[in-house]
């Protein structure tokens, strides 16, 4: 399944980059995340509760950050498994400074297997879009918070 | 652990009181608690219709309901329709037209069609199509089932039992 899109954040590229690399913020990016630990510079592990239609399950997973070119781009790889299935994906994130803020362009591919795949197909697309939208909102909020704190 | 719940259900005119888990499916309740195995389970996904029973007179998929939802309600299953010695006209029609082969989907069809014919025996092509669309059969190709419904309509309109 292909995932792609873009979002404009009202903040500098450095701020957005810092946020994306902050596990606490990342956890907000993925709604349903119950735990996200940074194991090293480029590796995270955690747990997330996913719901796709009638399928609800917790997954344990890992995220790897590769090909970092701060604050411009990086490649994210993720994989996880749980009762309801498994997933594996990779994508790139590009940040470009523009007049009204920072443009984030993301694109990637995610493969889903197990119950999720065999019964949840028709809902996966919709659910992933919803999750991403929520994630972006979460990032927006986190960015605002940081700006507010910085202002104090 | 699931707490047990008491339910009182009237099935085919008889009142049953049972203590069950809340998550017990109505189909499993009917088949295994009440030992009425004429209702069959084909998919547990609500698509095939084999598990169709009458719930307060309405055809419903018993695999999509919980037994606790039937508390205080009336259920009719295929066992109520007729006996081997005394078939309901709808059942007779099914036999006469060879509208069943393996018989697994049959009770679902009977319980789906019965309320339609009890309401009217004057069925249009569209009515007939509507009456049958919700049940899957892999054996018959449906043609004889269509014949059975038409034959049953004739039998029931000329004063057959309802």
């Amino acid at each position: 399944m292909r995932i792609e899109g873009e979002h404009v954040f009202s903040g500098s590229r450095e701020d957005v980059w810092a946020m994306v690399r902050d596990p606490e913020v990342l956890a907000k990016l993925l709604p349903g995340t119950t735990k996200l630990n940074q194991l090293s510079e480029s590796e995270y592990e955690g747990e997330i509760n996913l719901r796709i239609g009638p399928i609800l399950g917790s997954f344990s997973g890992r995220i790897f950050v590769e090909d970092e070119v701060p604050p411009e781009s990086c490649t994210l790889k993720a994989e996880g498994e749980g009762r309801a299935g498994f997933f594996k994906g990779s994508g790139t994130v590009h940040l470009t400074e523009q007049d009204d803020g920072t443009l984030m362009v993301y694109e990637g591919d995610i493969q889903i297997g197990g119950k999720l795949a065999s019964i949840g197909q028709r809902l996966i697309d919709m659910t992933s879009k919803t999750m991403i939208r929520q994630g972006m909102k979460g990032l927006d909020a986190a960015l605002e918070e940081r700006k507010a704190e910085a202002a104090d | 652990m699931s707490k047990a719940m008491d339910v009182t259900v009237t099935v085919n005119g008889e009142v049953y009181q049972k203590t069950i888990e809340p998550r017990l499916l109505l189909s499993d309740f009917i088949r295994h608690e009440l030992n009425l195995s004429g209702t069959h389970v084909g998919c547990e996904q609500g698509v095939c219709g084999a598990c169709t029973i009458l719930f307060d007179g309405m055809p419903v998929r018993s695999c999509l309901m919980l037994a606790v939802q039937a508390d205080g309600h009336e259920i009719r299953t295929v066992e109520d329709l007729g006996t081997m010695e005394n078939l309901h006209p709808l059942q007779e029609a099914f036999q006469e037209t060879h509208a069943l082969q393996c018989g697994f989907c049959t009770s679902g069809f009977l319980m789906s069609i019965l309320p339609v014919l009890e309401e009217t025996t004057d069925l249009s092509e569209e009515d007939l199509k509507r009456a049958l669309e919700g049940n899957l059969c892999r054996c018959t190709g449906y043609q004889h089932i269509r014949d059975a419904v038409q034959l049953a309509a004739e039998k029931m309109s000329s004063g057959g039992e309802s």
């Binding site: 197990g114 | 209702t39 095939c48 066992e79 007729g82 082969q101 018989g103 059969c137 449906y142 043609q143």
Partner: protein, 782 residues
């Protein structure tokens, strides 16, 4: 003597039970102390098993036991091969790799079982599956049969050098030579995808080991209880007499239930023997999509060489057959394909290179048609294309190539699934075609109606295809007929019944031979305690092999009846007749003795039974045909395609069917209707969609579309009867006939309807989306 009952439209004996919910299916079996099993299945299609931890599952209240492959110890072993490759073909490369009871080293298809949990209820057992911790290391997956042959493809079986499960070449004449002199050579690639059988009843097993009686009883939704009983006895060191396998009423089978020694059959038996409790396992629908076998996947590179007037000089069909993760069923399906590519046509030169390929998908074993639909699809499509390219009418080109009536039995030389050279016993193809054309008003439609409708912009099309169907293969079946002292007749035979009406069609034969009412003949099928010699219900053979055994047994009893009655009535046998349950002197009808009285007489409590005679009025007989009888027919249909939605509406559907002597036309019609419905599903609505990770994306009826009544038209049937010389009844099978030609017919009719220059349909199944792409000339993604 005129048949009174055989061939009559008699309603079924078994219906009252089925209609009133009084018929026993496997899930209806309830035994005291019965436990329930659930299987943990791999989600990954290809993965190495590093470890399984059952401890949490075992701690769950209500869980009684849980086992993995390791727990099975020496009892663990891959299943026996069910069909060996034919010893009659030279140079067959074949690698036997059969399914395992529980995964030991690696997972080879999504849904392969990793562990079994046994608990007090199915609900608890399924809960406990989530407690099990499995360490699986995912491996690269191979799903496409062509890519599976790439040198760098992941290997389904590591001990093999490639994913080739089998390779053989079958030839007749010299295709390469004849090709040189051909006026026309047509070459095409045809791709056919998998479908599921989709019986309404999922599989199920109840296995019960009674320690005190040292008796194992297994209820199983199987099409072949006798081989299961023999195999389980052998596997577990029991005497065959200690094992009883019962196939009660089975809710449809269509092939996958003939697969034997499924992991679940082995595990349930092993577990009950170990635990001493009855255990039940009922498959759920999603499991069925993974754990029950499927069929149809093939890729053909085919070439047809013809003269300029459309006579076939030769055919070459090189193809790949997808066997999934294992190959217990040998070459049965692709051999059927090879034979059916020849069709009812005279094809003097033929060459076919077949490769069977392993993939990380559910294993393939026969589904109604069993490789025949693919063969028919190939030849019928090629003839359609040849007709177009040569400017010959499609009906005409078929007529020019039909085998003439004086060639039968016709030896096609190549080896078929029964290991013999493929001989067609009898055929009469031209009248079947003519009749179909007449019924569908072919000329009127193509000359008048279609052009007019086309002018209005309507996409209407017509299709006509011919086909053959091999049926009635051996080795044999048996039956026992007994007249009881009540005068009722009991019959037992080893085949099982999954809706085919054996309780009636076989009863008709017995009732006719013994002069009784059909309703007074009580039949038992599928219970090894009642009859334990035979193979099973498959390959459209019940009405041929089992029915002829029933017939032979009934005739033995008839002989005994007449002999004994002759003595009792002091009248020569020739002057006696049997009717209405009595034997009477034809000219003096008041002088008679009832069958019941005769039965009592034959089994005296006093007096002597002469040496060399048998007590009772009972006969057992076996029948094994020399080779399979070949049925045939022509199907025709008229369709209309909505150019915006690409939905295909079938306006008319015609079948002209020749299955030899018909036992019960009502039942034959039912089989044809059901077969066509499955065929329509195969053609347009049903496709098992696997992604590159071997994940089945539509494992539910919501997404795998079995046709409803709205999609299946009314079917008009005409029968032709060309009796088979291979058996006394003259019957041929018909169980799969409805399904076999449908995809070929669909493709032809829809192509005709779309009426786009250069449009060729070379794949199955189709779909509205795919038709849209073809219609607008878009290429499918590779």
């Amino acid at each position: 003597m005129m048949a009174k009952l055989i061939g009559k439209r008699i309603t079924r004996n078994e219906d009252p039970r089925l209609l009133t919910g009084q018929a026993l299916f496997v899930d209806d079996v309830e035994l005291p102390g019965m436990l329930h099993a659930a299987f943990l299945r791999s989600e990954y299609a290809h993965a190495r098993l590093k470890g399984i931890d059952l401890s949490a599952a075992l701690e769950r209240p209500g869980v009684v036991a849980a086992f993995t492959a390791e727990d099975m110890g020496d009892d663990w072993s891959p299943g026996p091969p069910l069909v060996i490759p034919p010893p009659t073909i030279e140079d067959v490369e074949f690698y036997t790799r059969t399914q395992v009871p529980l995964v030991k080293d690696k997972v080879r298809h999504a849904g392969e079982p990793l562990a079994i949990v046994i608990a007090e209820s199915r609900y608890i057992a399924e809960d406990a599956l989530d407690d099990i911790v499995v360490d699986l290391e995912p491996l690269d997956v191979v799903t496409n049969i062509e890519r599976a042959l790439d040198p760098d493809s992941p290997l389904v079986h590591d001990d093999l050098e490639s994913n080739i499960a089998a390779h053989l070449v079958q030839e007749k004449g010299d295709y390469a030579a004849i090709r040189e002199g051909a006026d026309k050579v047509i070459k095409r690639r045809i791709v056919i995808e998998r479908g599921a059988a989709g019986a309404m009843e999922n599989r199920g097993i109840v296995a019960s080991w009674d320690i005190k009686q040292q008796q194992l009883t297994v209820w199983d939704t199987t099409q072949s209880p006798i081989p299961i009983r023999n195999g389980l006895a052998s596997m577990f060191g029991l005497s065959e007499y200690q094992v009883r396998v019962i196939a009660p009423f089975v809710g449809g089978a269509f092939g996958p239930k003939i697969m034997m020694f499924y992991p679940e059959e082995v595990l349930l038996t092993w577990s009950t023997l170990k635990m001493g409790s009855p255990i039940k396992w009922i498959e759920d629908r999603r499991e069925n999509f993974y754990a029950t076998t499927q069929e149809r996947g093939q890729v053909h590179e085919v070439e047809l060489a013809l003269t300029s007037d459309g006579r076939i000089l030769g055919l070459r069909d090189d193809f790949l057959h997808d066997t999934g993760a294992y190959d217990p069923y040998g070459l049965t399906i692709p051999l059927n394909t090879q034979c059916h590519v020849l069709g009812p046509y005279e094809i003097p030169n033929f060459s076919s290179d077949l490769k069977v390929v392993f993939t990380n998908k559910t294993l393939t074993t026969p589904v109604r048609g069993a490789g025949r639909p693919q063969g028919v699809y190939v030849i019928e499509r090629m003839l359609d294309i040849a007709a177009r390219e040569l400017g010959i009418d499609r009906v005409e080109i078929r007529k020019r190539n039909y085998l003439p009536n004086d060639v039968f039995p016709y030896d096609n030389v190549i080896i078929d699934q029964a290991f013999e050279s493929f001989i067609i016993d009898s055929g009469d193809y031209l009248p079947a075609m003519e009749k179909a054309l007449e019924m569908i008003s072919y000329e009127k439609f193509t000359q008048e109606e279609q052009p007019k409708l086309r002018e209005e912009g309507r996409r209407v099309g017509i299709g006509v295809v011919s086909f053959i169907e091999t049926t009635g293969v051996g080795p044999y079946e048996g039956a026992r007929v007994t007249i009881e002292s009540s005068g009722k007749i009991s019959v037992a035979t080893g085949v099982g019944t999954q809706g085919q009406g054996h309780f009636t069609s076989f009863a008709q034969i017995v009732a006719e031979r013994l002069g009784v009412d059909v309703r007074d003949v009580h039949l038992v099928t599928g219970d090894t305690a009642q009859f334990h010699w035979g193979t099973g219900t498959f390959a459209s053979r019940g009405a041929v092999v089992a029915a002829n055994a029933v017939n032979a047994a009934a005739l033995i009893v008839r002989g005994k009846v007449l002999e004994l009655a002759s003595e009792a009535l002091e009248t020569p046998e020739e002057e006696l007749e049997i009717e209405d349950g009595v034997v009477r002197v034809a000219k003096i009808p008041t002088r008679y003795i009832s069958l019941g009285d005769l039965a009592q007489r034959s089994n005296p409590l006093r007096g002597a039974v002469e040496p060399g005679t048998e007590p009772g009025l009972e006969g057992t007989a076996y029948f094994g045909p020399k080779y399979g009888a070949t049925a045939f027919g022509t199907h025709a249909m008229i369709v209309e395609v909505d150019p915006e939605t690409m939905i295909v509406e079938i306006k008319r559907y015609i079948i002209v069917e020749d299955c030899g002597t018909i036992l019960n036309p009502l039942i034959v019609e039912g089989q044809l209707h059901g077969g066509v419905a499955l065929g329509i599903g195969n053609s347009f609505y049903e496709k098992l969609v696997f992604d590159d990770n071997g994940q089945l994306l539509n494992a539910s009826f919501a997404d795998y579309l079995i046709p409803t009544a709205a999609e299946i038209p009314t079917i008009e049937i005409a029968h032709q009867v060309t009796p088979s010389p291979l058996n006394p009844l003259g019957s041929k099978g018909v169980g799969e006939a409805g399904a076999i030609p449908v995809p070929a017919l669909f493709a032809q009719a829809v192509e005709n309807a779309l009426d786009v220059e250069g449009l060729e349909i070379l794949e199955s199944p189709l779909s509205p989306q795919r038709l849209f792409e073809l219609f607008h000339g878009e290429e499918k993604d590779a």
